[in-house]
């Protein structure tokens, strides 16, 4: 019992005298060993052009939208020159824009009918512009354009509609209504993916859908709590973000038939993913100021490297073939002396070079 008392006494003394920093002593300078390696060197950065990035064209141009006062515009942004070319201007709010090879489709508020959405086709040669359909007002009115002039979207909450620039539709009905967040159609594999949540559900799920021979839809749920997805059209690979607990996982589906997702990476607070087939980028929200940073996932090293400083990213991350990433971000700009802030959106265009520096090279 005596030994027990002594042990108790010693331990109590140890604790009560503040030895809680037993492993990290006070006033001792500790060097932190980090193995940070900057994968990419920022070659250039341009954040001057306003707009919200929407999609990429086949020739690596970026489609963006902008609104100034009550004017809405669809612009083409050239990452090489960092120049913006106005394409379409309208008085009506534009929801989504997607580009096919010959033109673009965009959704906007219908004239004189704010409860309905109009989907328009605009050819890049500016020769043709027409309304191809009207759909019920759905949040964001998400579109996906493919092929030369085809688009797929959701109508009436449960109808997947395939249209072309001539307005010819094929409608396929889902068994359940859904609030669509994103939709993708892989024409080569004749399979599509959509992210949406059913009524009453807080989180969105990822579904794969196919068109059966009898023109019915075959829908399979692939994942729950899905935040974002991106398709590599060339390689028919899909990546998506799925949240599990407090971590977000990046999955890849290589085989659209067997659909066996492969986890690539996980971290906290991942928001969006972009995949150009070779490089995979994702954004991660930083808790402060609701900003996000963009990271590059090294598939070989199975590690991620931060690429940008925090931005208020409000668009998909477009990765071009020229080691460029394009996205748009919100920025509060001090407006006038009355200390009011206005939110602006700018297109950020980062051009990177691969960092060939030896990671062990000394600081200069």
């Amino acid at each position: 019992m005596k030994k027990l008392f002594i042990a108790l006494l010693l331990l109590s003394t140890l604790i009560l005298t503040g030895c809680s920093n037993f492993l990290l002593a006070d006033n001792t300078v500790l060097t932190i060993d980090t193995n940070k390696k900057q994968e990419f060197i920022i070659k250039s950065m341009n954040t001057e052009q306003p707009g919200i990035v929407r999609a990429k064209t086949n020739d690596n141009q970026v489609i963006s939208t902008n609104s100034i006062n009550d004017d809405y515009s669809i612009d083409l942004y050239d990452p090489n020159t960092s120049t913006l070319v106005n394409y379409i201007t309208t008085d009506y709010r534009i929801f989504d824009v997607k580009a096919a090879s010959d033109g673009l489709f965009y959704s906007r508020v219908m004239v004189n009918d704010p409860d309905n959405i109009q989907i328009n086709w605009f050819s890049f040669d500016k020769a043709t512009e027409r309304t191809i359909t009207t759909i019920a007002d759905t949040p964001d009115s998400v579109l996906y354009a493919y092929d030369t002039d085809k688009v797929v979207y959701l109508d009436n909450g449960n109808e997947i509609v395939f249209s072309n620039s001539l307005g010819q539709n094929n409608v396929y009905t889902l068994d359940f209504p859904i609030n669509l967040k994103e939709i993708i159609w892989c024409d080569k594999a004749e399979t599509g993916f959509l992210i949406g949540n059913q009524d009453g559900m807080d989180s969105s799920d990822l579904y794969q859908f196919r068109i059966n021979d009898d023109n019915t839809l075959n829908v399979n749920k692939i994942s729950s709590n899905t935040l974002d997805m991106d398709l590599n059209k060339d390689e028919n690979k899909l990546v998506y973000l799925s949240q599990n607990g407090n971590k977000t996982f990046i999955y890849e589906i290589s085989d659209f038939k067997s659909v066996s997702p492969t986890p690539l990476f996980s971290d906290m607070n991942l928001e969006r993913v972009s995949y150009n087939g070779e490089n995979l980028f994702f954004s991660r929200s930083e808790n402060r100021r609701t900003q996000s940073t963009i990271w590059f996932f090294d598939r070989q090293a199975q590690s991620a490297n931060q690429v940008t400083s925090p931005f208020g990213i409000n668009s998909p991350i477009i990765v071009t073939n020229n080691n460029e990433i394009v996205f748009s971000f919100d920025e509060r700009t001090y407006q006038d002396v009355t200390a009011s802030y206005q939110m602006y959106s700018f297109i950020a265009n980062f051009r990177f070079d691969q960092n060939n520096q030896n990671e062990n090279s000394p600081l200069q």
Binding site: L11, D26, L30, I42, E286, Q357
Partner: protein, 598 residues
């Protein structure tokens, strides 16, 4: 003196172990929480550093050379400061690549001096961290180099973040652990108390039963049915007590047997140890020496012979004996060592009551003395007269007749004496037979009275005989009974005065007894000698008895008593010396006869 019982110790030990466990847990949790908090904070601060670093790289990407970048950074440090502050929740300080302060929180009176951290970071080119206490609040100080893509250091960012959250968390943990400890102690105490019951109850039972066993109750059993170590112990203990009980019972039985043997011994026994401690006695020791429960041999200090004998035995003398007289008894004391396998030597002292044999010797000596005297007296008379007749011619016819009568009388007296001696010997050796028949006691007494009237006429003594009518018969030997009554009446005649009276009365006393009263009115018997009248050769008045015409040898009543006591069946005839109520110091003879046949 026992300070703590087993249950208390169990409780205290459990509490102490629990406290130790909770302290260890607390220590580990505090360390873990602290380490985790600091680590998390460190990662967060490093992230801030990285964010600023990238921001700087983004902004200075327009410049080609490192110098341009450094200049731009230094010239626009306030912009970068604003950017970093917008990201961080703590204090930020920006330094140039030589460690000079560029920007800090202008609301502070003075910047925090992060010189140690800067020195280390400049030296190693790596981030450094320190935990410091500022006004009682612990803070994490971190310096992170700001580098160009080709690892050229542009400057340093210093971040200070307080760890109050971690401290608060630790306080909460303290409180939680403290509360859990208190609750745990209560639960542990109750649980230990209850658990201790299970442990201490059989031990208490063991103790209690051991106490009972110590007091001699060997039949106690502990009830404990569980199959654990204590169950084994109690099972073995129960078997042990059962065995002890058996042995005790055996020992008691043997002891009782030994006590019975000792009690049935006709000799006194003293077993004594070498140092005088009494090991064993029997009750005759009390009878002989009037000593109750002697502890040591020296309790016999009033009986020196015993102690002397013991001392002689101790000296190595063997087979000691001594004859002593104690309290009116003749005792033969013998002593010898007790043979034993063990080294200690004990002694056995035997005390034999030889009073009767001594008395017998004395009686024999007295008998021989009396017999020789009785024989000598008439023989001397006969020899005297025959000598006189043979030596002198006696012409006097009267003298001659007297001499011849005397010779004849003394001769007859010798014959009677011999007859009496033979009868006495026969009675003592019990060699004559007894013939039992139905006897009319009234008729028998009548015949005896008529026979004795012949003798009583010489002294003019009247024998009055009265018998109750219709008395039942008794069983007995006619001759022996006649002899008894003859001797008693003969004795009455001898000790009655001339002209006296003897009353012989036969009555029925109750359903079982007849009462025969033979009462004389003569000289009576001295109360002091009443016990002696039935002794052999006892005569109250020696001269009178010898000079009487009959001249008895003192065997008459002796023979009566011998016949009554030894020959007749028990209780056939009880001879008693009844006290005459009127004459208080004189005794009359009275007999009771048992009605054997009914």
């Amino acid at each position: 003196m026992r300070l703590l019982n087993l249950r208390s110790k169990l409780i205290i030990y459990n509490i102490l172990f629990y406290l130790l466990f909770m302290l260890v847990l607390l220590f580990i949790i505090l360390q873990a929480v602290w380490f985790y908090s600091v680590n998390s904070m460190k990662e967060e601060l490093l992230q801030y550093g990285t964010n600023l670093n990238l921001y700087i790289q983004e902004v200075t990407s327009q410049f080609e050379t490192n110098e341009e970048k450094i200049n731009y950074y230094e010239n626009n440090s306030s912009e970068f400061y604003d950017e970093s502050v917008s990201q961080s929740t703590g204090e930020v300080e920006l330094f140039d690549n030589e460690g000079l302060l560029l920007s800090y929180n202008s609301n502070r009176n003075e910047p925090a001096y992060m010189n140690d951290e800067l020195e280390e970071s400049i030296l190693t080119g790596k981030p450094v961290l320190t935990i410091r206490t500022n006004n009682g609040i612990r803070e994490i100080w971190l310096i992170d180099p700001l580098v160009t893509p080709n690892n050229t250091v542009i400057g340093y960012i210093g971040m200070i973040q307080n760890l109050s959250q971690a401290d608060n968390l630790q306080s909460i943990i303290f409180e939680v652990i403290g509360t859990l400890s208190v609750i745990g102690i209560i639960i542990i105490t109750l649980f230990s108390y209850a658990m201790g019951q299970g442990f201490t109850k059989p031990i208490k039972q063991l103790t209690e039963i051991s106490s009972h066993i110590n007091e001699g109750e060997y039949d106690r059993v502990i009830q404990y049915k569980r199959n654990d170590e204590i169950g084994e112990l109690t099972s073995i203990y129960n078997k042990m007590t059962q065995n002890i009980n058996k042995v005790i019972i055996q020992l008691r039985s043997e002891r009782k047997r030994l006590a019975n043997i000792l009690a049935s011994l006709e000799d006194g026994v003293i077993a004594v140890s070498e140092d005088g401690e009494i090991l064993l006695t029997n009750k005759l020791i009390k009878t002989y020496f009037d000593i109750v429960d002697p502890k040591t041999i020296y309790d016999f200090n009033y009986h020196k012979s015993i102690i002397e004998l013991f001392n002689n035995l101790k000296k190595g003398k063997r087979n000691q004996f001594e004859e002593v007289e104690v309290n009116g008894r003749d005792l033969l004391i013998t002593g010898s060592p007790i043979k034993s396998d063990v080294a200690e030597e004990n002694y056995l002292i035997i005390i034999r009551n030889v009073t009767s044999s001594k008395n017998l010797e004395r009686e024999q000596r007295k008998f021989i003395s009396s017999v020789s005297h009785e024989l000598r007296t008439p023989l001397t008379t006969i020899i005297g007269y025959t000598d006189m007749l043979s030596r002198r011619k006696v012409d006097n016819p009267e003298l001659l007749e007297k001499s011849l009568n005397t010779i004849n009388r003394e001769g007859h007296r010798l014959v009677r004496l011999v007859d009496d001696l033979v009868t006495a010997n026969t009675v003592e050796t019990m060699v004559f037979t007894v013939t039992k028949t139905k006897i009319d006691l009234a008729e028998l007494l009548n015949n005896v009275v008529e026979q004795m009237k012949i003798k009583s006429w010489s002294k003019e003594i009247e024998i009055a005989y009265k018998a109750q009518e219709n008395l039942p018969e008794i069983a007995g030997d006619y001759d022996r009974l006649s002899q008894v009554f003859i001797n008693i009446i003969h004795n009455a005649i001898k000790f009655s005065n001339v002209g006296g009276k003897i009353d012989v009365v036969l009555t029925r006393e109750d359903e079982r007894y007849l009462n025969i009263s033979i009462r004389d009115y003569g000289i009576g018997i001295d109360p002091a000698k009443k016990d002696m009248i039935f002794s052999a050769f006892y005569r109250v008045d020696e001269d009178r008895a010898r000079n009487e015409g009959e001249g008895g040898a003192g065997l008459g009543l002796y023979l009566v008593k011998q016949v009554v006591d030894n020959v007749m069946e028990e209780s056939v005839l009880n001879l008693k010396l009844m006290k005459e109520p009127i004459l208080q110091f004189f005794y009359r003879l009275k007999m009771k006869a048992l009605l054997k046949w009914r």
